[in-house]
Subunit: 205 residues, 4 copies
DNA sequence: AATGAATGAGAATTCATTCAT
DNA sequence: TATGAATGAATTCTCATTCAT
């Protein structure tokens, strides 16, 4: 009984195992060469289990991880603390988080980019989620600090979305196509300056 | 008249037909959902013909188009004319070309991004080709104009590679993930300013 | 009753069905004209099932049958009983077994001969297995009977390998190229005498 | 004109080129992995040329080479000279020729063995040709020497066919499955003794 | 829930063969 | 005669998905 128990996982552990295995394999061999059968084999669970949790297979894994990770990323930010900073420092913190997150979850991000090419619904959900996410963020920030009240709510959201896309575009290229700088520090410093410049540019228009 | 010539022309026509059909389909339904059978059917040629020209199928199509398009892009630039401009104007011309090229060949670029995930050789060839390409460009430019002699050859190449990656990263995101601006003109203007800023930043380091 | 057991039995039944169907078809239409699709169709199972059990298709079927049949052939021989005989009688028993086995499994033997032409690894495995097989046999025989102690272990193994090859060469030609004799009895008698002669010849060298 | 002439081959040269290339490839990669396209590519001629000379492709190449080589083997033997020998010496000469021929044309022999598995007509032609061949030989020999008159014509033919098969069986196994002896000389000596023994055995029955 | 054997549509690739030049 | 582009049926192999246990 006891020895059996050891190997019993609860639901969330199984799901996380599937996530981890999937993204690990994507990183190793790309999204479209990673099959549900591979995931099952590599995670040492059965294909049936994957389909129990993700009835539509690979697409579902990405979809659900996308939902969860966006939410988690949002929740993980202590907005109240960030709001104390000036805008520049806030931006720096934010892009550092994005960088870390992207680097640690590169498998997922590669999979996601592949998936949205053929999954229009996911593509749309992504767009919607981002606006939704930054709407919340902006509302919170504006409640907490005057630093964010120079701009209308809508405009501030657009700024965030713009910055988010900008940083993601460059991050993704850096991590999956060709590196911009040899070290993370140089890269982050450039990103920070680029963000500041772009913020200024954007606000002028 | 020249029976040999006609043959050759047909050959290139067929190759171009395969390119066009493939990238058109990639744009419509993503790289990994576009099969060689689809290409053949859509182009109204037989599968065998595709494999006559591209023995390793999809990977070969991308590889060869990559080689050809990089070369064509290089050849198509009248460097002598560009060299007359100051650096800022040169950059503007260059990124406008990149933008047009990327927009017109989005199918290819999507396919290329997917392909390098699983084709390490293509990934490496890409890196090498870019440095090779800008090496040539820089040498030509430095012969033609004093505007490009403030920097060492090596440094100038690095600047170009950096700018090329930067613009590509943003272009690709804009065209395939989420738009930065609603109109092309706004986007180009931003890109131009971003490039100028980044050039300055890069040269300071 | 034992749900696990039943599963396992079905598994082996399916594997045997694939073996039988494959070798039946090889006998009818040669190795290289027998496709995995033919096997599936003829056995009324799906292609997927074949690849579940034999991930590398035809080559795997041969490889695995080769391993199993060599082992089975070894196990099936009651060495202790054979050891009681004198060498001549032992040889006669042995070649009679080989004859029966070859005749009953001609489809396999034809497939095997074709397969080793293009599968170097199988070719090598075959060589190695034969020496391994006769090493075991010789050790057992020498433990059980003094009849086999006139020769060194190594030399005895070589004799067996030699005889095995000799008999196989002639058997295979007889069954697949052109018959040496009209009846099995005549053929077996010739083989027996040939073996005795060759044994004597071999021991003299 | 002159430089062109250099590359013009006559019919027989082309045919020989096809034979050589085909059997070279069979030796390297087996019969069923050698396609007409491979042959054309390797021989640097066009597929069309192969089909000009061999309208039914691979099967035709084997068939025609089979016919020609059997005839050539027959013609190449100076029967009058062989007839002067006693039977034992005759046999030795004969099997030495077979050995050399088989070794030099192993590619062909491998291809032939594969081909007869699926080409019943070739299988039958082979049987017929062998009897036809030895009928001729025997008639010639009996005209030239008394050494061959102890046996009836029919019986003598059967002896030859038997010996021919025996030697071929062992030769083929030695060259394509597993070697009987480490050196050619040892092997030939064994073959010679085996032939003598078998001749005696056969004549007794 | 979890398993994994089984499925079969479909993707990648090969190859004998034809035919216009 | 020689060529080789073009064909498409056939082959190997993969993979998402189902379902009985």
């Amino acid at each position: 009984m006891d020895s059996k128990k050891k190997f019993v996982r609860n639901k969330q552990e199984k799901i996380d195992l599937i996530y981890d295995t999937f993204f690990k394999l994507v990183l190793k061999q790309s999204y479209h060469k990673t099959s549900t059968n591979h995931i099952a084999e590599s995670a040492r669970i059965s294909i049936g289990t994957i389909y129990n949790y993700f009835p539509r297979g690979k697409e579902d894994i990405i979809r659900k991880y996308f939902e969860e990770s966006m939410t988690a990323f949002f929740v993980s930010h202590d907005v109240s603390k960030m709001a104390e900073n000036n805008v520049r420092d806030f931006l720096d913190d934010f892009l550092l988080d994005l960088f870390r997150n992207h680097k640690e979850n590169l498998g997922y991000h590669l999979a996601f980019r592949s998936a949205i090419q053929s999954d229009k619904a996911l593509f749309d959900a992504h767009q919607e989620k981002i606006f939704h996410f930054f709407n919340h963020l902006v509302r919170k920030l504006r409640k907490l600090s005057d630093n964010f009240k120079q701009l209308s709510e809508r405009r501030l959201v657009n700024v965030f979305v713009f910055m988010y896309n900008l940083v993601n575009a460059i991050l993704h290229h850096h991590l999956s196509v060709m590196e911009f700088f040899d070290t993370d520090d140089e890269f982050i410093d450039y990103l920070s300056n680029l963000a500041a410049f772009s913020l200024e540019y954007y606000l002028k228009t």
